[in-house]
């Protein structure tokens, strides 16, 4: 495998079957992880609050719900709050929105991925996991177009393969890996000291 790209942040999107898959990914990350991790898991609006506790059980890094205007800090796993879209602003801080559902979802993976791609450009890895929706496909293509890296769970290892297949159809250059290998891939990512793509105000 080629050496991993210099990266500042990892964005992860999952839907049906995602709770177990995300838990497995997060458990693969070391306690001193140098990147920010941002997660959108589709979840019913009234099932809020449980995700953070659930994922924290699997994860050595602190897991938090992303709040409006929070900085996207390295070494923290941020979870999108239920019933809000989560975006990353050009200054690499979060913003939230309660506008209409996108791909029948709020939070929408596409919205996170598209805005993250503009904030982090080529220093971003986007991961699409199991799910029964096409959400995230457009966003992953945008990440690739901005020079970032797309990773898709291999459809045959996904609990539901609709989302990985949609992502691959939209983003042919994405790396296709089984779940366990994605964890290992993410654990090897490091931010290098080379000049990052400058945040634009």
């Amino acid at each position: 495998m080629t050496s991993p790209p210099a990266t500042d942040a990892v964005v992860i999107g999952a839907s049906a079957g995602g709770l177990a898959a995300i838990g497995a990914l997060l458990s693969a990350l070391p306690a001193a992880y140098p990147l920010a991790v941002v997660v959108v898991q589709h979840i019913p609006a009234d099932a809020a609050d449980t995700l953070v506790r659930r994922f924290q059980r699997h994860c050595r890094l602190p897991v938090r719900e992303a709040e409006d205007k929070d900085t996207v800090e390295p070494g923290i796993v941020f979870i999108a709050p239920a019933d809000y879209h989560l975006m990353i602003e050009p200054d690499r801080r979060f913003s939230l929105s309660r506008e209409e559902r996108v791909n029948f979802s709020r939070p929408s993976i596409d919205i996170l991925f598209e805005t993250a791609a503009e904030a982090f450009c080529n220093r971003l890895v986007g991961v699409i996991l199991t799910g029964a929706s096409a959400d995230g496909a457009t966003g992953l293509a945008k990440i690739a177009a901005m020079g970032g890296t797309g990773v898709v769970q291999s459809p045959e290892t996904a609990e539901v393969d609709v989302m990985p297949r949609a992502a691959l159809a939209a983003c042919a250059g994405a790396r296709v890996l089984p779940l366990a290998a994605i964890g290992a891939f993410l654990a090897r990512l490091i931010p290098e000291s080379e000049a990052p793509c400058p945040p634009i105000s």
Binding site: I88, S95, L96, E99, T115, A119, M146
Partner: protein, 288 residues
């Protein structure tokens, strides 16, 4: 890859020019809004209109009044429901109303009321707590067509089942159906709920204070604003509140990043209910 970066920077430049055009044309000021959000909305406008660039959008909105109005609508978020976030309404009943009941008369401001669902939700709560008759409710929004929907108080029937569930979760004491009359596919809020409610246009970004309030609701509006604008609007609320007045924000909003955070005490950290502290005496007042 370089071309994508250049393209992105050029798009941002075009977007700033577009927002400047809206401002100079109308006084509506979106320049301080959170840019990821605004950019997505404008992309939606651009694609829907079949235009290639933000500059084409700018040109068209300058010359085409109808198009201008559609852009304005696209930039305001009006998605809401009655008793959204039921836990918030329970907290208001338990922690805010007991204090408000000690006043002979209260003024309530819903800032950014959209289509009015929250205004009527709170009117129901006030009525059930026996306070509706001694309350003046101001409901304001930037968007006149949406304000007209709020004033009419007519909502789709298929939303009502959800509203009813919210109402019950929010600690509603009676039957939600008492508060509306149903037609074929819509419901109309009963006239009694509209008494003492004044709907009026107000722009949080460019307009000022219009009264001294006992409680201000501004829920899920500040998330669309950048830092400077958030600070400016929170200062407006601070100046509009009486001492001990309440400020209620959206559940995922907070005063944490505001330069005016110290002027408020936290009443309910989870539901984001704050209370204005009495102003510290100025040095001149102390010397007297």
């Amino acid at each position: 890859m370089t071309t994508d970066l250049v393209r992105m920077e050029n798009e941002r430049l075009e977007m700033r020019l577009l927002l400047e055009a809206i401002y100079q044309k109308s006084g509506y000021d979106f320049r301080g809004y959170a840019s990821a959000h605004i950019k997505r909305r404008l992309e939606h406008v651009r694609n829907r209109a079949g235009l290639a660039t933000f500059c084409e959008v700018t040109h068209r909105l300058i010359w085409d009044a109808e198009f201008f109005d559609s852009v304005l609508s696209a930039l305001s978020i009006n998605v809401t429901e009655m008793f959204r976030d039921p836990g918030f309404y329970r907290a208001v009943r338990e922690q805010v109303l007991p204090v408000l009941k000690t006043y002979p008369f209260i003024k309530v401001w819903h800032a950014g009321c959209a289509a009015g669902q929250e205004v009527y939700s709170m009117a129901i709560v006030l009525a059930e707590e026996g306070m509706k008759d001694r309350a003046q409710i101001y409901a304001t929004d930037i968007n006149p067509p949406v304000l007209e929907i709020a004033r009419r108080g007519i909502y789709p029937l298929d939303a009502v089942r959800h509203y009813t569930a919210n109402y019950q979760k929010a600690g509603g004491a009676s039957s939600f159906s008492e508060y509306y009359t149903a037609d074929y596919d819509s419901v109309a809020v009963k006239t009694a709920l509209k008494q003492n409610v004044l709907f009026s246009p107000h722009n949080l970004v460019t307009d000022g204070i219009f009264g001294e309030m006992h409680v201000i609701f501004c829920r899920n509006v500040l998330i669309y604003f950048g830092d400077d604008l958030q600070n400016k609007v929170i200062k407006l609320f601070l100046d509009s509140l009486c001492n001990g007045g309440f400020l209620c924000l959206g559940t995922k909003e907070s005063l944490r990043f505001s330069e005016h955070a110290d002027a408020f005490e936290v009443v309910d950290a989870r539901e984001k209910i704050y209370r204005k502290r009495p102003a510290l005496p100025t040095p001149e007042a102390e010397a007297e």
